[in-house]
């Protein structure tokens, strides 16, 4: 087994672990973190494609690498916006999935 294949399976597991958290965590911040795990796994899958595409004297295909760099920066922007949104949501007293202090009997089971 080559390192690329090993890390490929690791990336698949990261996506699954992130998905697990995204579905099951009731609080928005934990969902954002889980979503970022899915992102990291997906980027790593791109990395495997890049490493396997090594040719023409390069150690990896630069196209997927460049896409991942763009992706990481966009993921950061999305995370920052999501965090700002959830902080504002709590400030405004809107009920979250698990309920804010103003709404004791909320939607959660």
């Amino acid at each position: 087994m080559t390192p690329a294949t090993l890390y490929g399976i690791c990336a698949a597991a990261l996506v699954a672990i992130g998905l697990f958290g995204l579905i099951l965590h009731p609080t928005p911040l934990r969902k954002v973190i889980s979503f970022n795990l899915i992102g990291s796994g997906t980027f790593l899958l791109f990395g495997i494609a890049a490493r396997r595409g090594a040719a023409a004297g390069f150690l990896g295909d630069p196209i997927p690498q460049a896409m991942v760099i763009t992706g990481i920066v966009v993921a950061f922007a999305a995370t920052a916006l999501a965090v700002a949104l959830l902080l504002r949501m709590l400030e405004a007293g809107a009920p979250t999935v698990d309920g804010s202090p103003d709404t004791p009997d909320d939607l959660s089971p």
Binding site: A54, P62, A66, I69
Partner: protein, 311 residues
């Protein structure tokens, strides 16, 4: 031998990832996430993608981690900790996720020969661009449109963050980044590190043409230094209405768009560069972009305005 090292890395990464999801305290989850970012940047080194490793360490772990940590600090008194739902639901969702992992692993294990690659196409025209780092060439020459749109996404993201300020605070300063308890270490680092960090940032931008590095990595290093100074309380966050600040946010994307349109009469297409002049134009765009990225990243970490603008 080296495969054993990889195996240990994979075990470390998966343990950290599971910890990130399962740990009860959200601050512990964020710290595990930052550790995961650093481990992943080591993996990117193993995959011979140094540019990505630098970006993952700086943006994926560092900047994202800082945003999440700040959110933790502000959430603690308000939002109750949420536990995972019942065991039966966990098992059902776990089975679903295992299925997803199995599907992705099957794709990874399926032999593709030869592996699809665009590396020869990248290599074919590198000389015309005049730069030696293939990733920078892809980002700023072949796929410059993607990079331009990504900058626009960053600016839109910042506008989105700013727009969440209550009407009363519009144009004011964001919530202070200063640590609640003064720390001698932080103060010392904030005085010693910035000169070094700024040089590293400029080096990464300048060097990105021919070696690993580039605008994102350099810009993030600059942003980190600015944030460090503000966290130690040695500098104040600017008001979000400050004209100079907004010009800095806009200068990179604006120059990029201008260069794009200039391509119509210089080389016959949007974002095309005239032969021989590609490198100087790209370096100029990169410098402006690095400045904008540094300011945008720092302001995104700082968040929306939280104080009334001063009269």
């Amino acid at each position: 031998m080296s495969l054993a090292v990889d195996l240990v890395m994979v075990l470390l990464i998966l343990t950290t990832a599971v910890w990130t999801i399962l740990v009860r305290d959200r601050r512990d989850a964020v710290i595990a996430f930052i550790v995961l970012g650093l481990l992943l940047s080591l993996v990117w080194m193993r995959l011979m993608a140094v540019d990505v490793a630098l970006t993952e360490a700086a943006v994926g772990g560092g900047a994202t981690g800082l945003v999440l940590l700040r959110a933790c600090a502000r959430l603690l008194p308000v939002e109750a900790e949420g536990a995972l739902p019942g065991l039966r639901l966990q098992l059902a969702v776990g089975a679903l996720c295992a299925l997803v992992a199995a599907g992705l692993s099957a794709v990874i294990l399926a032999p593709v020969d030869p592996a699809p690659t665009l590396a020869p196409a990248v290599a074919a025209h590198m000389d015309e661009v005049g730069m030696k780092n293939p990733v920078t060439v892809v980002l700023l020459a072949y796929r410059a449109l993607d990079t331009l749109l990504e900058k626009v996404v960053l600016v839109l993201g910042l506008i989105g963050v700013w727009a969440l300020a209550p009407d009363l605070f519009w144009g004011g300063r964001p919530a202070s980044l200063r640590a609640a308890t003064p720390s001698g270490t932080l103060d010392f680092l904030a005085r010693v590190l910035p000169p070094v960090g700024v040089v590293i940032g400029i080096y990464l931008v300048w060097n990105g043409a021919d070696h690993p590095g580039g605008t994102f990595q350099g810009g993030t290093a600059l942003a980190a230094m600015w944030l460090l100074i503000m966290m130690a309380g040695l500098g104040e966050l600017p008001e979000t209405r400050a004209l100079r600040l907004r010009r800095l946010v806009a200068v990179g994307p604006a120059l990029f768009i201008a260069v794009g349109f200039a391509g119509f009469w210089m080389a016959g297409g949007f974002l095309s560069y005239p032969p021989g002049l590609a490198k100087p134009i790209i370096v100029a765009v990169e410098v402006a972009l690095a400045l904008s990225i540094a300011v945008i990243l720092a302001l995104m970490v700082a968040g929306p305005a939280a104080k009334e603008p001063e009269r």
